[in-house]
């Protein structure tokens, strides 16, 4: 299971990458593997607002649908337009070309609540059946 050290994580299996004043958000390798083949991703419009812990979109695989939860509150700066025609990027490159949205956080304190790579890994180990 790939869990890059430089990222932070949520218990909803999103990852967060700090990029200056912005954060880039995607789903983890664990999440994409559990979902199976992703065939559709519903994302918000650029310019809309997301709220920490609230659903901001959906990811649909051949077998199931899951909500996407915002790791931070803020304005959506950009969304990954590639996913409209190539949602499989979420499977093949979850930490790269399969990213979902870039958010400008309202409050950097939101970032302090996120899990380190080590904490996310032990969360997965505990949650495993």
């Amino acid at each position: 299971m790939n869990i890059p050290e430089e990222l932070t994580y949520t218990k909803e299996h999103e990852w967060v990458r700090l990029e200056g004043d912005l954060v880039r958000v995607g789903i983890t390798d664990y999440a994409q593997d559990a979902l199976g083949d992703v065939v559709f991703v519903q994302l918000p419009e650029a310019g809309s607002v997301v709220t920490a812990d609230d659903a901001f979109g959906e990811v649909e695989s051949t077998k199931s649908v899951s909500d996407l939860y915002a790791p931070v509150s803020g304005a959506v700066e950009s969304v990954n337009e590639l996913l409209e025609d190539s949602p499989e990027l979420v499977n093949s490159d979850p930490y790269g070309d399969g990213w979902l949205i870039v958010v400008r956080p309202d409050d950097s304190a939101d970032l302090d609540r996120l899990l380190s790579a080590a904490a996310y890994r032990s969360y997965l180990d505990e949650a495993a059946p």
């Binding site: 199976g36 083949d37 065939v39 559709f40 649909e60 051949t62 077998k63 649908v65 499989e88 499977n91």
Partner: protein, 361 residues
């Protein structure tokens, strides 16, 4: 209460190939290896190899076998000579589908019946009780001792030719084979819509054939394929899945499977109910629905008409890798005009089509 899941003889092979194993009809089966979409496309473009050993293998033998099958099943068995197979139904008295089956006329007085995994016990019990009313018909359930492989896709004959020589049945043809790996039965059947064969044999022979097919399969760009791809493939063709699109509460006439029902040939269970349905018109019909984008349609979603009134329900929802659209089979009121599917609070517009959803070359 925890259910003990059965595994086919190939269980450890699947795990070694990295398959995701899931419970299905009392069995632990591979839902995918590399991924459902890749496996689906491999079947459409090259070849896929499926373990479908969870399905039943029941032999019915004896001089009165054809009579037994004729009075028990919906299709006309007199049309199936030795060396041919047929798709047919077992109904309850209400005309609902107890199981859909492939029967193979293996030899003069020998037939092989392949029920769905979940229905093996029910089908065998019915065949047993019919056999008691017959003279010299013997029912042998080899479901645990035998396995089934489905080799599906346009390159299937290139894959199998060096493994089972002369295993080249025509569509719905059936033949015995003998090979260095053992003996069995090969038929020109499958449930993917792509050309191919199914190989039915004792478990140890199945293992040998599975292993021997691996190299030739990879050589043509083929892949082992799981139940996930099997489901998207059959749905893309509009083939019904028992427990979803056909069931003890859905008749073959409602499901558009009238071609499997020979009402003039015998008085099988459910025949009277079907005759009444035919006179009165079926109350519901199974239709194909295509969404406007990639979002998969989902089982149990309400189907709405142009006035947003509920007129039916999705019985099999999913995603078509060839169309790159959400697709579904839905059971709707006879005269309804479906316009949308309600999914998580949204009304997704759909177009009604007559399956198959795709035209294969």
């Amino acid at each position: 209460m925890s259910e003990v899941l059965r595994e086919t003889v190939l269980g450890s092979r699947h795990v070694a190939l990295g398959a995701k194993m899931v419970p299905f009809a009392g069995w632990r089966m591979p839902i995918q290896y590399e991924g459902t979409v890749a496996e689906h496309l491999a079947v459409r473009e090259a070849c896929g190899l499926f373990d479908v050993g969870h399905m039943g293998t029941v032999f019915v033998r004896g001089p009165d076998t054809a009579d037994l099958l004729q009075r028990t099943l919906t299709n006309d068995v007199t049309k199936v000579g030795p060396g041919r197979a047929q798709y047919t139904m077992l109904l309850n008295d209400r005309g609902g589908v107890v199981d859909d089956l492939i029967i193979s006329h293996v030899a003069e007085d020998e037939w092989m019946v392949v029920p769905n995994a979940a229905n093996v016990t029910t089908v065998v019990a019915i065949l047993d009780s019919e056999a008691e009313r017959s003279d010299g018909v013997e029912v042998t359930d080899l479901s645990s001792a035998w396995g089934i492989l489905a080799l599906q896709g346009p390159r299937w004959s290139d894959v199998v030719e060096d493994v089972l020589t002369d295993a080249a049945p025509a569509r719905f043809g059936v033949a015995r084979f003998e090979s260095r790996l053992g003996q069995g039965i090969v038929s020109g059947t499958g449930y993917t819509g792509s050309p191919g064969i199914e190989i039915v044999a004792p478990n140890d022979t199945i293992v040998g054939i599975w292993d021997a097919l691996g190299g030739p399969l990879a050589d043509v760009g083929g892949k082992p394929a799981g139940l996930g791809a099997r489901d998207t493939l059959r749905l893309e063709m509009g083939y019904p899945l028992h427990g979803h699109d056909i069931s003890p509460d859905i008749s073959p006439l409602e499901a558009g499977l009238g071609w499997t029902v020979a009402l003039d040939s015998a008085d099988f269970p459910g025949a009277a109910a079907l005759r009444r349905q035919k006179e009165d018109g079926v109350p519901r019909r199974l239709v194909g629905l295509v969404g406007r984008d990639r979002r998969p349609l989902r089982d149990a979603s309400p189907v709405l008409d142009t006035a947003a009134q509920a007129v039916g329900v999705v019985t099999s929802g999913g995603y078509s890798p060839l169309l790159e659209r959400g697709i579904a089979l839905a059971l709707v009121a006879r005269d309804a005009q479906p316009a949308s599917v309600e999914l998580r609070g949204r009304h997704l517009p759909v177009e009604v089509v007559d399956p198959p959803f795709v035209d294969l070359p």
